[in-house]
């Protein structure tokens, strides 16, 4: 029998929503300090050029300017994640339009901006490589002189005997797909305030998803020790992966602050967010699929060529996810993937909701559909037939402890068939179709032998109010609320008695941060375990006061009571007071470091590396105006196996938001470059969905009660976006009989695809 929970599984409003609806929540740009200066960055106008000379000259004499820095003022170290190829400011050459060349700090933003125009930089333009072909061509100009062939990283991962399996298949098909560059495009521009103490400590305020990683990477960039840096995280106005890692402006602000002895704030302009932010890695993905006549998926081969941009921040790991994760969606007998990451003279890429997994899902989920149709099979039946199930160990060694993939597929494919509109309208001018696509993703991701858990500190105060500290950020998805719900549930106190504290690396316990859809699953579990320890302390003390065995006590609604004699009770607040303000000197505090029971992948990337694997399926109905090529998504049914929803409204919020970003990626959003120069660096030319563009979205929450996650919960943040683009492409084939292989699917592409056929063109 399932226990009746008091807050878990309930639609409680987000605990920080009150601060946000009143405008009181403070984001980075809402903070300021006495004497604070404003920093601005001079960026390269060239995609590729040698820097001949940088002359701060007249900038320094402009009244109000306090400092100008160039590469000469920066530590010579290169930093970055797997491949240290980033300098704080470019020294020898610039590698993309937006590359950081110099920076100023001044008493106002306007003066800092004016000072930039007074810095004289002499460039010697170099030939640039603007796309994958150019970068891979023999003798192509090198983005980094020490990276021959412009290759940043290459993987070859093989499981089983792929060649033998292809030879034994009834059918083998091969197609190539391509995804585009899109931007997380969170509403709050990224920024930082840096300030030094006299003793050499550095404080950084920044709305970042992974504060402890930020501290570590900043220390590397600045040649410091991590513990000499404190990262404090104010409210974050959205991140979606784009605010996981530090950017160059973080150490730049630190250097400007050091040089002036004053706090320095840098907030990116929206144009800088477009030029120098971190878009999704765009990839070409060739998929070869081997099937049997009955639709059994046997084997798969993928060849991935991915556009890294000029510096390789998180892209190597993103490439690895792209290379592996779709192998675990179906019960393949064998798979092989070759993947290369290619440097180009474009904005460096990084993580965006899906972290590589979304790109390969577009390719595989388009391919499965296409193959099923070629064989005259129902794509939904083919998916159900091959879907992984609970108890499976996948080709990469993932142990599937809970799995609702089949249920997700059934739910959405049934829902999209209900109330369908006719396939045609206006004599065939308007055509409609439906399509389905699936997703598997992770909830946490252990790299090798690294920690992949989370730590929590839970502490009662003398009046019975509770403080919860975690190292995981809330970027708007609701982590604070989930942590508060878990702690309130375990401790039997009202949600209002719980305060989830702001993240501060000096105070909060260690945590890796908000990515890999891991926060509820591992961060929530750490809070749960710490709250359980505090509960034991609380009941032990209450037992002493009530002269009862603690094992006979329970706590609910802020009252501790004797289970067999509920009339005997004592308020939690009274026990806390007695514990903290008397000679009892009880801690009523617990610190838990939780690491999930997973192995991590070995040197060949084999192994069970996530606490839980999550699943989902989307079904969409689209409508196409065949005269204009305009595509409208009418309805989306979106089912996600989240294990157990701690806050169903929060889960639905993730689903609605993920679907919206998925529709945007599929149809509207695209960073367009010409000669290495971004052509649409503004919100007027980079098109996001508005409220008027929204389809109907019907979310389904599938419960599989994961055995490891807190209350059975798994992640949903990233998977909510992943199936939408392939589902749309599949629906378009259903509507038009035409397959689209490249994102975004613009009206031009649709129109040309329709009228490239001679019989249509004659009409």
């Amino acid at each position: 029998m399932q226990k009746e929970y008091s807050t878990i599984g309930k639609n409680v409003p987000f605990v920080d929503a009150r601060e946000k609806v009143t405008g009181r929540a403070k984001y980075l740009d809402d903070l300021s300090f006495p004497g604070m200066l404003y920093g601005k960055i001079l960026r390269s106008p060239y995609p590729h050029a040698r820097i001949v000379n940088v002359d701060p000259g007249r900038a320094l004499s402009l009244p109000g300017v306090k400092a100008v820095i160039t590469a000469a003022d920066c530590p010579a170290t290169r930093f970055g994640l797997e491949i240290p190829d980033v300098s704080i400011l470019a020294g020898d050459k610039v590698r993309y339009v937006g590359d950081e060349v110099a920076a100023v700090s001044a008493v106002s933003e306007e003066i800092a901006e004016e000072a930039l125009s007074l810095i004289k930089v002499e460039y010697a333009p170099l030939p640039s490589v603007d796309d994958l072909e150019a970068a891979l061509a023999p003798g192509a100009p090198l983005v980094h002189d020490d990276k021959p062939g412009n290759i940043g990283k290459a993987y070859k991962i093989e499981r089983g005997d792929v060649d033998a399996d292809f030879a034994g298949c009834d059918y083998v098909f091969e197609e190539e797909f391509a995804t585009s560059r899109v931007l997380p495009c969170y509403l709050e521009p990224f920024g930082v305030i840096a300030s030094w103490e006299n003793d050499g400590w550095l404080t950084i305020w920044t709305g970042i998803q992974a504060a402890f990683h930020a501290r570590f990477e900043l220390a590397r960039a600045l040649n410091m020790q991590p513990s000499d840096i404190s990262v404090k995280v104010p409210y974050i106005g959205g991140g979606f992966g784009g605010k996981i890692w530090i950017r160059n402006f973080h150490p730049i602000a630190a250097l400007l602050a050091k040089k002036t002895g004053r706090p320095v704030k840098i907030v990116l302009s929206r144009e800088e967010e477009f030029l120098a932010s971190r878009p999704r890695v765009a990839a070409r993905i060739k998929v070869k699929l081997g099937l049997m006549r009955d639709g059994t998926l046997v084997c798969k081969e993928m060849k991935i060529t991915a556009d890294n941009g000029a510096y390789s921040w998180a892209a190597p790991k993103i490439l690895l996810n792209m290379a592996m994760r779709t192998d675990c969606l179906y019960r393949f007998r064998s798979t092989r993937t070759e993947a290369v990451l290619v440097y180009t003279n474009k904005t460096p890429t990084s993580g965006f909701r899906g972290y590589g997994n979304a790109q390969s899902h577009f390719a595989l989920e388009s391919m499965v559909d296409l193959c099923a149709r070629k064989l005259g099979l129902d794509p939904v039946e083919v998916r159900l037939k091959n879907a992984v199930r609970r108890g499976d160990t996948t080709l990469h060694g993932w142990k599937i402890r809970s799995c609702g993939l089949g249920e997700c597929i059934e739910k959405v494919s049934a829902a999209i068939q209900l109330n369908r509109l006719p396939k045609e309208k206006q004599g065939g001018k308007i055509r409609r179709g439906v399509g389905v696509a699936c997703v598997t993703h992770v909830s946490g991701n252990r790299a090798g032998n690294n920690f992949d858990g989370s730590c929590a500190l839970v502490r009662f105060q003398e009046d019975g109010k509770l403080l919860v500290y975690s190292g995981e950020s809330d970027m708007g998805q609701g982590a604070r609320t989930v942590f508060a719900q878990i702690a309130a549930e375990i401790l039997g106190i009202p949600l209002e008695s719980v305060k989830v504290m702001p993240l501060d690396t000096d105070i909060s316990p260690f945590g890796y941060g908000t990515y890999s859809s891991r926060v509820t699953t591992v961060g929530g579990k750490a809070v749960l375990l710490a709250a359980q320890q505090v509960r034991e302390q609380l009941l032990t003390l209450a037992g002493k006061i009530l002269n009862e065995d603690p094992s006979g006590l329970d706590v609910k609604d802020g009252q501790i009571f004797v289970r067999l004699d509920p009339g005997r009770h004592i308020p939690v607040a009274e026990v806390c007071r007695a514990g903290i303000r008397t000679r009892e000197a009880a801690a009523l505090t617990a610190y838990v470091s939780y690491d999930p029971p997973t192995e991590g992948a070995d040197g060949n990337f084999y192994g069970d590396y996530s606490s839980a694997y999550n699943y989902g399926a989307h079904a969409v109905e689209v409508e196409v105006d065949t005269e204009t090529g305009q595509v409208r998504v009418l309805r989306v049914a979106a089912a996600h196996d989240v294990g157990y929803p701690i806050n169903p409204n929060g889960v639905r919020g993730q689903i609605y938001g993920g679907v919206t970003q998925g529709v945007g990626w599929a149809l509207y959003e695209n960073l367009v470059y010409k000669g290495g120069v971004l052509q649409n660096p503004s919100l007027s030319s980079y098109i996001l969905l508005t409220i008027k563009d929204m389809p109907e979205v019907e979310p389904f929450i599938v419960k599989t009660n994961d055995p490891v996650g807190p209350y059975g919960a798994k992640g949903v943040g990233e998977p909510a976006l992943i199936p939408t683009p392939p589902a749309i492409a599949n629906a378009l084939e259903d509507a038009l009989g035409v397959r689209f292989y490249d994102l975004p699917i613009t009206p031009e592409k649709v129109f040309l695809a329709l009228y490239a056929r001679p019989e249509e063109a004659e009409k």
């Binding site: 929503a17 601060e19 609806v21 009143t22 509403l187 708007g476 007027s684």
Partner: protein, 161 residues
């Protein structure tokens, strides 16, 4: 400074006087000079709607309005909606409907919703969408905004505001 002017206006019900430069936007004056940071700067190019305030009761992108344009007029920011500390019914509705995730677009959306409900106490879905079409939100998928505005309409009707 000689090139500044005295801006007098009624801000959230109170008369305010502040010296501003001719090129200063209402957004910058609100945020930097009057320290009302509830109004957010999302793009400074009139595209995202995060900086929406009510000028004479009508929603405007305060990043595109020169501060002096507010001279002698009334301005309401998000801080003015719950000046007493009690949530306004529209704020309650947004909170209850789960229409708030990161919260960065929220103040602007709420003020546009107020302008709509002041004008049309029982708006249709179409009217809500038209009113909120200038607000970008990257978190919610907007669907919760519809519910929030309708919920607010009911609340406002019930309490006879």
């Amino acid at each position: 400074m000689s090139d500044t002017h005295l801006l007098k206006f009624v801000l959230n019900g109170e008369e305010v006087e502040v010296m501003v430069a001719p090129a200063e936007t209402l957004l910058d004056v609100l945020r930097k000079k009057l320290l009302l940071t509830g109004t957010k700067k999302g793009c400074a190019e009139g595209e995202c709607g995060a900086c929406t305030v009510l000028l004479e009761g009508k929603p405007v992108n305060s990043c595109l309005v020169l501060a002096m344009k507010a001279h002698g007029k009334t301005v309401m920011t998000i801080e003015g909606l719950s000046a007493t500390g009690e949530l306004h019914p529209i704020q309650e509705a947004f909170l209850e409907a789960g229409a708030v995730q990161c919260g960065f677009c929220t103040p602007g959306v709420i003020l546009s919703a107020k302008a709509l409900l002041d004008r049309e106490p029982a708006p249709s879905d179409e009217e809500i969408k038209n009113e909120l079409a200038g607000h970008l939100c990257r978190c919610t998928g907007y669907i919760q905004f519809l519910e929030a505005v309708k919920r607010a309409a009911v609340k406002l009707g019930k309490f006879n505001f």
